[in-house]
Amino acid sequence: MALEAPSLSAPSVISRLAPGLVTLASLAGLLALWWITATFADSRVLPTPPQVAAAFWRDAVSGEMEFHLAMTLMRVAAAFVIAMVIGSAIGIALGMNREANRFFDPWLILFLNLPALVVIVLAYIWFGLNEAAAIGAIAVNKIPNVVVTMREGARALDRDLDEMARVYRFSTVKTLRHVVLPQLQPYFAAASRSGISLIWKIALVVELLGRSNGVGFQINLYFQLFDVASILAYTLAFVAVMLIIEFALVQPFEAYSTRWRPKRA
C-alpha cells in the first residue's frame, strides 16, 4: 500500500491541476493525426482540417449552416422531450405494477429490437412526409430505452422511505416530489444521457429520408456532390453543438441535482 500511494497521487495531482489541459492535448493529438494522414493521402475523399474549416466558414457566412443546425436541433429537442416524458411515464408504471409489466414486457422487447430504419420508413408511409411523422419516428426509437431504464429505477424505489412518507402523511404531490423523483434522478440522468446521443444520430437518418432541411439533408446533398469537406464540416459543427449542450446544460443540472451526495475523496 505504501509503495502504491505515490504513484496513485502523482497523476491525480496533474489531472486536478489541469483537467482541461489534458482534454485539449488529447484533441490536439487527434487533429494532428488527421492532418498528417490527410496530407500524406492527398486525396479528395480525405480533406485536411483547413479545407473542412473553409467549407464550414462558407456555409456559416451564408447562414445555411445555422439554419440546418437549428432545424436538426429543433427535431432533437422535440423528440427528446416526447421520448423522456412518455418513456418515463410508461417505465414508472411498469416498474410499480407487476401484472402490467408481465403483460407489456413482450411489447417492449419487440420495440427495443425494431430497427430504427423500419420505424422511420413506416412513419413516413403511414403519416406522410411531414414534421410530426419525423419527430414521432425519432421519439418512438428512443422510448423503449427510456422505459427499460426508468422501470429499473421504479423497481429499486426504497420502501423504507415510502413507509416514512405514509406515516408522516405526505400528500401525493409531496411524496412524488421529495421522495420518489429524487430516487429516480440517476436513472433519468442515465436515460437522457444515452438518449441525446441516440436521438441525434437517428434524427440525421430521418432527415436524410424525408425532410428537405437539417444536417441529415445537407449531408445527403454533399454526399451526392461528393463533397467530403462539407460533410465533415456539418458533422463536426453538430457534434460541437451537442458538446456545448452537454457541458452547459446537462452537467450543471446533474451536479445540482446530486449535490447532496457525499463527495468522493
Binding site: H178, R259, R261
Partner: protein, 253 residues
C-alpha cells in the same frame, strides 16, 4: 432550552392507546405460514411512555407496524389517541431521512401544510442540531442522523410517538446521551409514546410501563409499572429496579 420548559398546551390524545392483536400470520416466500403474534393486548395511558421488550423476532416491530397503519392484515383492533387532526410520529430503527434534503428540510417536510413555517430553533437547539440544519444526512454520523429523526418526530407535535429501537447500533456513550435528550424533549411536552427495545436499562430509565412479550408467537408475559418520577431515577434506584425486574422475568437482562 428555556422555551422547552415553558408550559405548552397538553399534548397527547384524550384517550389511551389501546392495542389488541388477536392473531397475525405472515406468509413466507416458501408459502409456509408463520404465526408472529398470538395474542397481545395492552393500553398506554395518555401522555405516558411505554416500552415493549421481548426476544428477537417475537413480533415487536410487527406490532409497531400495525399501530402505524403500515400493516393492516391482522385480526384484532386498535384505538389510537384521538386528536384532531390525528398525528403519529415514528422513529424507525434506521433514521430514514431523505438523503437529498437537508436536515431542516427533512424535519419541515413532515410538518402539516398549515405549520410549515413553525419555529424549530428551540427543538434543534435542544437536540444539539443547530449547526447541522443545512447539512445533508450523508454528512451526519449515525448518532446525529438519529437525532434528526427524533427532531422530525417531535416537530409535528404528535398525539402518538412510536419508536422502534431508536438507539440500536450506537456506542453506549452516544446512546446514553441520546436517551437523556429523548427524556428531556419528551418531558417538555409529554405525548403518548410506545418504544420497542432490547435494552432493559433503557426501558427502566425511560418508561412508565414496561410490557414483556414471550417468544414467537407473541403473547404478553407480564407488565411492569414504574411510578418513580424520572428525575428521581438515579443509578442506585436503576440498579435495584433492574435486579427486581430481572428476577421476575428471567432472561430479559
Amino acid at each position: 432550552m428555556s422555551n422547552l420548559s415553558k408550559p405548552i398546551p397538553p399534548a397527547g390524545g384524550q384517550n389511551a392507546l389501546e392495542v389488541e392483536i388477536r392473531d397475525k400470520v405472515f406468509r413466507g416466500a416458501d408459502g409456509v405460514d408463520v404465526r408472529a403474534i398470538a395474542d397481545i393486548a395492552f393500553a398506554v395511558e395518555p401522555a405516558s411512555f411505554a416500552t415493549l421488550i421481548g426476544p428477537s423476532g417475537c413480533g415487536k416491530t410487527t406490532t409497531l407496524r400495525i399501530i402505524l397503519g403500515l400493516d393492516s392484515e391482522f385480526s384484532g383492533q386498535l384505538r389510537l389517541p384521538e386528536n384532531e387532526p390525528r398525528r403519529i410520529a415514528a422513529v424507525f430503527q434506521e433514521p430514514r431521512l431523505l438523503p437529498w434534503r437537508t436536515v431542516e428540510d427533512n424535519v419541515r417536510l413532515a410538518l402539516a401544510d398549515d405549520a410549515t413555517d413553525r419555529d424549530l430553533s428551540d427543538l434543534f437547539a435542544a437536540l444539539g442540531l443547530s449547526e447541522m440544519r443545512g447539512r445533508f444526512p450523508g454528512e451526519l454520523s449515525l448518532g446525529l442522523a438519529r437525532r434528526a429523526a427524533l427532531a422530525r418526530a417531535f416537530a409535528i407535535r404528535p398525539s402518538l410517538l412510536v419508536l422502534d429501537e431508536p438507539f440500536v447500533s450506537l456506542d453506549e456513550q452516544t446512546a446514553g446521551r441520546l436517551r437523556n435528550l429523548l427524556t428531556e424533549v419528551w418531558s417538555a411536552r409529554p405525548t403518548t409514546a410506545l418504544m420497542v427495545t432490547h435494552n432493559l436499562r433503557e426501558a427502566v430509565q425511560l418508561s412508565d410501563k414496561i410490557i414483556f412479550l414471550t417468544e414467537r408467537p407473541a403473547r404478553i408475559r407480564g407488565i411492569h409499572e414504574i411510578s418513580t418520577p424520572r428525575a428521581e431515577r438515579d443509578t442506585r434506584w436503576r440498579e435495584t429496579t433492574l435486579s427486581t425486574v430481572a428476577k421476575r422475568y428471567s432472561g430479559v437482562l
